[in-house]
Symmetry: C2
Subunit: 735 residues, 2 copies
């Protein structure tokens, strides 16, 4: 073994994200490439301060948020940066800092027991989770690569024998349920082992990273604590298997953008390292270049401010300004097709990585090559083969900002998935108009359950009622059973954004509530006499049984008016007892016998009006999140719900306008009223629906839609009030 | 009468806010003074568009927010600007526009009945309130002044006989209860009559404006619909009386900054017009120059973003960017002592008035004379003689923004006053940390009660419980009786901001709850190991009877942690049945037997921790505003309340820290925990209190305060745990 090890030490260092050629080019250009120089200066000042502060390698003790956790996390981030500084600035103090810290870890490791905190299914050594130990090794491998030639052969041997190889084995051999799965945790594990394997030129470790372990002792049918199968029969493991599985051919990551962001770093850093050391693997071409594609997809899964749509378990506020995305954008530029749109994202990030990729980006920016990164309306498929539904995004130019609609009709999304079939959210620029709640967790905030998932994530955030979609009989999709949900997905019916004034996404769901078919159509319609594109939301429900259907809309702001009578209770009770309903206060209820229920609210100086075609029996319910929340873990956001009871086949038809403005300094409000006078279903049968929209100014338009034939070339006819309407393709808007 | 009128027509025009000399200077400098030129260009484009749009003078019909109201309001604003443009640009089209609009009003006026909307005690003709008709005349008088010489003698006579004089008489002679009072409404009426009187050179009208009407038919003891006396015996009326009364010698306007902003315009515009036409009156020197002083005071009653503190009935968001303040800042510069700090406010406003004052300001800015407007910690007296309590503002430099505390210990504040004795609010920069609720009204938003005061303004916003102050037995100060409250005021005990690290405001209140004396001390304390100055809040209560005392703190954000057990009810009930308590949901309750109750919450990426010295019998109550709110008129903001029952003499002692930061992109929180380990009352008797503060790091400090001797030169001694502490002046902080 030692023989093999030694015969590979001739390999060049650094070789992972910096190469000797890259270092030479960077050194030759110091002081000439502003964005690189700025990042270098700020990194230098950060590391210089850390060096001054001294090294701290405490005995592991805390959960995330606690001192030892945060210190060890900081350590690997600092070591990686110090390593880069050593290469770029050629100043010994940086190498020395890394070396000394590594030897403190080396000294501690051999006698270190499992981390004392016991909540994880795969506890680590430095951290409470093996996952975090993997993070540590991914970064530390890079630091080691940078100071490799600074160390003596004997020093390397000490570090490798006492620290790196044992840790790599611990992560993999000793934690098969963590390491040998398809899961973002496993990806980190694989990459940790792979990165250190590359630096050590240890082919066995690299093989284990790429293809997993042959033997893992996982029993068939064994499940994790969320009820998910640890491993499907015949399931491959390792890095490539983890590229295969969670990404669709479009580069959509089934867990959603928040976790894709987290996963991007190990995927990209290892791909980059492999490309530099094992170009024979052609990693960036793997699965039709899905890694590079996925980065572009991820950038498209953001609002106009770069914040990720909080699909599934996603913490709001996370954005393409995160360090993982700084790294991935730079890597995707250098290793992809030199997409100049990425340069403008890098400009906004106002930093680059201190490596070959970051240098290439900064240099291209300095050469004026940056162009806008244009986000278009787009549909992304989900599923390994792209046949498991997906996510559709409509983007339409508004009066002041883009109106963005995100519809989710994807697969379950793994253990972080939500039971949110056919749900959607709506934005005006970076402001949420209709929100996806996100998760019930305060990442790294120790006061809130140590920063971990809160009970309410399961009881509220994952439940169907927490989303802007249909709930049948106060239950959740698949009765919130993960194993069941994991077997199904919704299906895209159509996505058409060819006409910027009439963009549509539509999808169907047949499994979430067995016996019930749901078909939703979401359209952004731009008409001259509307200030902004308005949303038309149509849901067709067909069921074998009579049910109660609830359609909530979660908004922000304060109710300004309603065109119907409602009662507000003197005593507030929860709306229900389970499946998330126990977390909703019912704060008002009314009904509207006259055909259209209209509610307007005010938020961020904006008015929003919702108009829904209702029957007199529909209950119109105002809600507020926060019941049965003993630790105040939930945000107390409001909702408006349309409830139909004893319905078998039915329709929900709703329009939503964003309009007007109020200036608290001039105290002038403009366009503060809805522009929709009437919204009617003028045609309905199993094949078609016709919606008539009449504006306050008296303009009429009729939206016609075919539920059974999405073919662009089909011709359709319906007769409404004795008049025949004909159109081509699944839909039309007749003025 | 006509004779008198004619013999004064030789007077120069314009002469109100533009003078012939001023016009000449402005014309000679066009294109050379950027801020003036910019304002001119944008005003020109606005008026050109209006001219193109055509004149609309509809038959009056609507309340504010409705079409006819907003149109007539726009008309007077446009006429005033068009008049100025005519003078400055010397283009006839502007004069023609004003003339044609005036003749449309002239044609309509003689047969116009009272406005059809009947809610006002003094209905207008063009508007539902005579107040708005007065607004109209104040602005229109200026337009008339500008085109005076463009009109023929006969045209003038027609306008004056059929429109201006009848309207001036209507506002005054026909509406004595509106016109002949001390009230911001009356000021507008006085100034309307005065401005048109000055243009018409009608001495009778000017006299009526300055000194009111001798006969008004108001009966002794007659009250308005808020229960306020219309007129005290011997009360003077008219403009000067309205300068005398609401302003304290410090320039504090008793109704508060929101209404002062509204009132500033008529005060300043008439003062300016008088200074230009009747310099003999020395209006700017009146009452020791209170008008100019009041503008400086008003600017100081803002947060760091220029937003007014929402004392009494104040709508949040109103700021020194309002048109009234643009006008007043410019006027105060020209007619005051050329305060160059005002120039930097004008720069922020980025516009000036198109008159002598605005030109002077823009010119001085161009000459580089602007300096920062520095807001210091300051106490302002209330009351005509300055002996009716006041408002104290503490400003202390924080880690990122200024920490600003506003304590109110003033008189009732007229009909717009709140029952908020000894209340305070706290800001970090422009963010509210502990809020004053403001009003329950959506000014000019028709959906909400036509934009008028909502029922909840009286039932919630004015009540004591809506404020961060003591409530006794679930009642309000003076049982919320205006007449009673109007007779009393709190008293300043001390205000000391000499030491920037230990700033204190303290005041007493003896009448709000008869038989109970309340003495509050609010200190901003800056210590090295605290990220920001922290607040120390001490309330000493001494009563003849046993009572329940509630001290609520209204915050924003989400509870992160509490160091005591609390229960959250399954069903929410209002906290009480009256005096505002009926609007609070009780969302949680607990108690803390260990001496210190600590609650932390998170808002705007900031952590805030409240630590209070409590007894085991104190109830710790979490609330949310919004019960008994059938029209969703209230904001659902949270509160934390400390309740002491069966207490006679007692103390509330609380510290509040603003600390830490959470970045949702890095997901790193820093300094997320309170730095106060323990807060103890270590000494208490009728004269003194001693508070010991121990930090997490073990630092000790003792705050000592004398409740009975605020003299700076007095010496005090107390013995605590056998140790004698001596200090000079009312307070000290011993480390
Ligand atoms: Ca799982
Ligand atoms: Ca009144
Ligand atoms: Ca601290
Ligand atoms: Mg969700
Ligand atoms: Mg399938
Ligand atoms: Mg108030
Ligand atoms: Mg007095």
């Amino acid at each position: 073994f030692i023989l093999i090890f030694q015969c590979y030490t001739a390999q060049e260092h650094p070789s992972l994200i910096l190469t000797t050629k890259g270092v030479a080019e960077i050194r030759a250009n110091l002081g000439r490439i502003p964005l690189f120089d700025e990042t270098l200066a700020s990194t230098k000042s950060q590391i210089d301060a850390e060096i001054l502060n001294g090294i701290e390698v405490p005995i592991p003790k805390d959960y995330s948020g606690g001192y030892t956790h945060e210190r060890h996390k900081k350590n690997f981030l600092m070591m990686q940066k110090a390593g880069l500084l050593y290469q770029i600035l050629n100043e010994e103090k940086y190498a020395k800092y890394v070396k000394e810290m590594l030897f403190q870890y080396e000294k501690m490791y051999p006698t270190l027991p499992l981390h004392p905190q016991t909540r994880s299914y795969a506890r680590g050594k430095f951290f409470w989770q093996a996952l975090n130990d993997s993070n540590w090794l991914v970064y530390t491998a890079q630091a080691y690569d940078c100071i490799y030639n600074y160390l003596t052969v004997s020093e390397r041997k000490t570090l490798e024998s006492n620290l790196f190889r044992p840790l790599a084995d611990f992560i993999s051999l000793e934690n098969p349920k963590f390491y040998n799965r398809i899961h973002n945790h496993s990806t980190w594990g694989n990459v940790a082992v792979g990165m250190i394997g590359l630096v050590m030129n240890d082919k066995k470790l690299v093989e284990r990273a790429l293809y997993g372990m042959k033997k893992d002792g996982i029993k068939e049918g064994e499940k994790d604590n969320d009820g998910g199968l640890l491993k499907k029969p015949g399931q491959k493991a390792g890095f490539f298997a983890n590229v295969d599985e969670p990404f669709s051919p479009d580069g959509y990551f089934t867990e959603g953008p928040y976790y894709q962001r987290y996963a991007m770093y190990p995927y990209m850093v290892f791909a980059e390292a492999l490309q530099n050391t094992r170009p024979d693997l052609k990693v960036f071409e793997y699965k039709n270049g899905v890694l590079l594609k996925s980065l572009i997809t991820l950038l498209n899964l953001t609002d106009t401010e770069g914040k990720f749509f909080p699909l599934n378990d996603g913490q709001k506020g996370m954005s393409y300004y995160s360090r993982e995305l700084v790294f991935s954008v730079d890597a995707a530029y250098l290793f992809g097709e030199k997409n100049t749109g990425l340069l403008s994202i890098a400009e906004k990030q106002s930093e680059v990585t201190l490596d070959n990729a970051g240098f290439a980006v900064a240099k291209a920016i300095q050469e004026g090559k940056a162009t806008s990164f244009i986000k278009k309306s787009v549909a992304y498929s989900d599923g390994i083969k792209g046949d498991q539904g997906g996510v559709g995004i409509l983007r339409s130019k508004g009066s002041t900002e883009e109106i963005t609609l995100v519809m989710k009709y994807a697969a379950q999304g793994g253990s972080h998935g939500h039971y949110d079939k056919l749900s959607f959210s709506l934005y005006e620029g970076g402001n949420e108009i209709l929100q996806d709640y996100g998760l019930a967790r305060f990442v790294n905030i120790q006061q809130k359950g140590g920063g971990n998932y809160l009970k309410e994530n399961k009881t509220w955030a994952k439940q169907t009622i927490a989303h802007n979609t249909i709930v049948q009989n106060e239950s959740s999709n698949f009765e919130a059973d993960y194993e069941t949900g994991d077997q199904f997905h919704s299906d895209k019916y159509l996505f058409d954004a060819n006409n910027p004034n009439l963009q549509i996404v539509s999808a169907k769901e047949s499994n979430a509530f067995p016996g019930t078919e749901m078909h939703r159509v979401l359209a952004l319609i731009k008409e001259d006499d509307f200030e902004n594109p308005f949303l038309l939301d149509i849901i067709k429900i067909k069921s074998k049984t009579s049910n109660q259907y609830d359609l909530p809309y979660y908004y922000f702001g304060q109710i300004m008016s309603a065109n119907f009578k409602y009662e507000t209770p003197n005593i507030l009770s929860p709306l229900g007892t389970k499946n998330g309903y126990e977390h909703l206060w019912k704060i008002g209820e009314g009904s509207q016998p006259e055909g259209n229920a209209k509610v307007s609210w005010f938020n961020n100086d904006r008015f929003i009006s919702l108009t829904s075609a209702v029957s007199k029996d529909d209950q119109l319910i105002f809600t507020k999140i926060g019941a049965n929340d003993p630790d105040f873990n939930l945000r107390n956001d409001p909702g408006f719900m349309i409830r139909k009871t004893n319905a078998k086949d039915t329709y929900f038809v709703t329009a939503l306008e964003i309009h007007g403005h109020y200036n608290p300094v001039t105290e002038i409000g403009n366009n503060t009223f809805s522009n929709i006078k009437k919204l009617d279903i003028v045609y309905q049968d199993d094949q078609y629906i016709g919606i008539k929209i009449m504006t306050v100014g008296g303009d009429l338009s009729i939206f016609l839609f075919s539920f059974q034939d999405a073919d662009k070339n089909s011709t359709h006819n319906v007769s409404i009030d004795g008049k025949i309407y004909s159109w081509n393709g699944a839909f039309t808007l007749i003025k």
